[in-house]
């Protein structure tokens, strides 16, 4: 991918369901290698926005390109160039570590030799070589999450989408996870994170806060704290989201 072109670009991106604008004219650009935090209250429209960006939902109007591909006309090409990980669903609990890696490598069309080599590498890095033939379900949560992230970037995507990636893990594992993220962004991968936990937002290069389908704020964490005279992103978020109409039902 061209390094000067934004990894994600949207202009007036909108999605309506009937008369209801779930996402209402959002515009932003995310650079290559950036860690972008996408925040919003329940019902703010985050999930709809992400589904458009990963090629699962066609927008009603506006423009958006992801990894250089148009969300209207090239949704299938987008799917090949992105990775996705969520805490709720990532790896198959009843498959082994190796079977999961092989499955995802296959889905992304990697040759078997590449999958094998990458599996060896990542298991060594994560110190999980002994767990290769263990079922995912038997591993501690922290291991699963680190592994899920490695699998989500196995095919070296341009952009990886993380949906509440570190909820519930201990603070040491959480930091090891963020170090993994720093490492892939150092190599030029863009990271798009959604989370309800505002201290996670502080790890991002820039953060947007969505309220009732609209992006109400977008800046670096320190820029937002300064603008709203707040000590942390949580205060900024509560200030913006408390008045939201959609959270009250």
């Amino acid at each position: 991918m061209d390094s000067t072109r934004p990894a994600i670009k949207t202009r007036n991106l909108t999605r309506k369901f009937g008369d209801f604008s779930a996402v209402d004219n959002i515009s932003f650009e995310i650079s290559k290698g950036e860690i972008f935090g996408f925040l919003g209250a329940n019902g703010a429209g985050k999930t709809t926005a992400i589904r458009m960006l990963i090629g699962l939902l066609t927008p009603t109007s506006g423009e958006a390109s992801v990894a250089g591909f148009d969300v209207f006309t090239e949704a299938e090409a987008i799917k090949n160039r992105i990775g996705y990980m969520s805490q709720k669903f990532s790896l198959y609990a009843d498959l082994t570590v190796w079977e999961n890696i092989r499955l995802y490598g296959g889905i992304y069309g990697l040759p078997m030799e590449t999958v094998k080599a990458k599996a060896d590498d990542l298991l060594k890095t994560l110190q999980l070589s002994d767990a290769r033939d263990k079922r995912i379900g038997s591993l501690p949560l922290g291991w699963k999450q680190k592994l899920a992230f490695s699998v989500a970037v196995l095919h070296e995507p341009d952009i990886v989408f993380l949906d509440e990636p570190t909820g519930g893990v201990d603070p040491i594992t959480r930091r090891q996870f963020w170090e993994q993220i720093y490492e892939v962004t150092e190599g030029g991968t863009t990271v798009f994170v959604t989370t309800h936990y505002m201290d996670e937002a502080e790890y991002c290069d820039r953060v947007s806060i969505m309220v009732d389908g609209v992006i109400e704020a977008l800046d670096t964490p320190s820029g937002l704290k300064e603008e709203f005279k707040a000590d942390n992103i949580e205060e900024v978020f509560i200030e913006l989201a408390r008045g939201a109409d959609r959270s009250q039902n």
């Binding site: 209250a41 922290g142 519930g168 603070p171 790890y203 320190s222 039902n249």
Partner: protein, 307 residues
């Protein structure tokens, strides 16, 4: 007076130890928090306190009653909100309330004053199915149902997991109001930043209590001076700091890295020169105060070393 007295409780599931010789007390009128990651043992402990499962050994006394011997007399005095949404999704808001009230031989009308501050926010959706509520509203309904029989002790297992920051803040405000009215509250959360909402907290990991104290004292017991360090490349900053001869610990904390030294007092100028020589740009170094996660990390490491 202590409302909860737990002595030397252990619980295992097969080879997995969920609780490893826990002892603690909760005084009447406290808002007490159990803070720890998934798998720490919070749910097992709460199920023992609410008489839903038995410990392998040790004793637990709640409201002056033994959780095993006296479970029948104890249950009506407890309000329990489990971690999974446990209401009937295919009953309406009002039907759920009526059901839980009738199970405890009471009615919504009888205890309306107690639940009113919370339930009033749900009244306009009384006919909606519980399954169709938003996360924040489900949580309010679950709390109303756990409260409807006017319990003396409220036990809430991860009530704020999965809901947005505004709903979480409101939820803690509701718990504080109930607590002000004399209900003792024990709640768990995996989110360290919620510690400050409690009178006292127990930090829990791998079935062990790492520390019990007020949130202020827990933070104060972290002795080492911490430097908050920032540079343009976080990845390279962490690598270089780990290679510094005086390094004790290096942990990312949002926009900064929290750095502690083996020496009593770190030398900021020397560190800055070292990082500059390593080719880093945008360097900023300033002393900072520890937060609850610094404490938790240090205690976890101790627990692993000695345990």
């Amino acid at each position: 007076m202590n409302i909860v007295e737990v002595k030397n409780i252990s619980k295992s599931y097969g080879k997995t130890t969920a609780l490893d010789d826990l002892s603690f007390e909760v005084a009447g009128g406290e808002l007490f928090g159990f803070i720890g990651p998934d798998g720490a043992g919070k749910t097992s402990l709460f199920r023992i306190l609410t008489t839903l499962t038995k410990p392998d050994c040790g004793t637990a006394n709640v409201l002056g009653m033994d959780v095993i011997e006296d479970y029948r007399s104890l249950r009506p005095l407890l309000g329990y909100m489990p971690g999974q949404f446990a209401l009937y999704q295919d009953l309406s808001v009002r039907e759920n309330m009526n059901f839980f009230a009738s199970v405890f031989g009471t009615s919504l009308e009888e205890n309306y004053d107690l639940v009113a501050p919370i339930y009033s926010q749900l009244e306009k959706f009384e006919d909606r199915l519980a399954g169709a509520l938003s996360g924040g509203m489900k949580q309010k309904l679950a709390l109303s149902c756990a409260l409807i029989h006017k319990p003396e002790l409220l036990v809430l297992d991860e009530p704020t997991t999965g809901v947005d920051a505004v709903s979480r803040q409101e939820f803690w405000e509701m718990l504080r109001r109930l607590n002000d009215e004399g209900i003792t509250v024990i709640a768990s959360t995996p989110y360290m930043d919620e510690a400050g909402q409690c009178d006292r907290v127990a930090l829990i990991d791998e079935g062990n209590i790492l520390q019990i104290d007020t949130p202020e004292n827990i933070v104060r017991s972290f002795r080492k001076p911490i430097l908050a360090v920032k540079a343009t490349s976080m990845y390279r900053l962490i690598k270089e700091l780990r290679g510094y001869p005086w390094t004790h610990s290096v942990q990312p904390f949002g926009e900064y890295v929290h750095y502690t030294e083996q020496r009593e007092e770190p030398n900021i100028d020397e560190l800055e020169a070292y990082l500059t020589d390593a080719g880093l740009s945008g360097i900023s170094i300033k002393p900072t105060s520890p937060d609850i996660e610094d404490s938790f990390i240090a205690l976890m490491k101790d627990n692993h070393t000695h345990g």
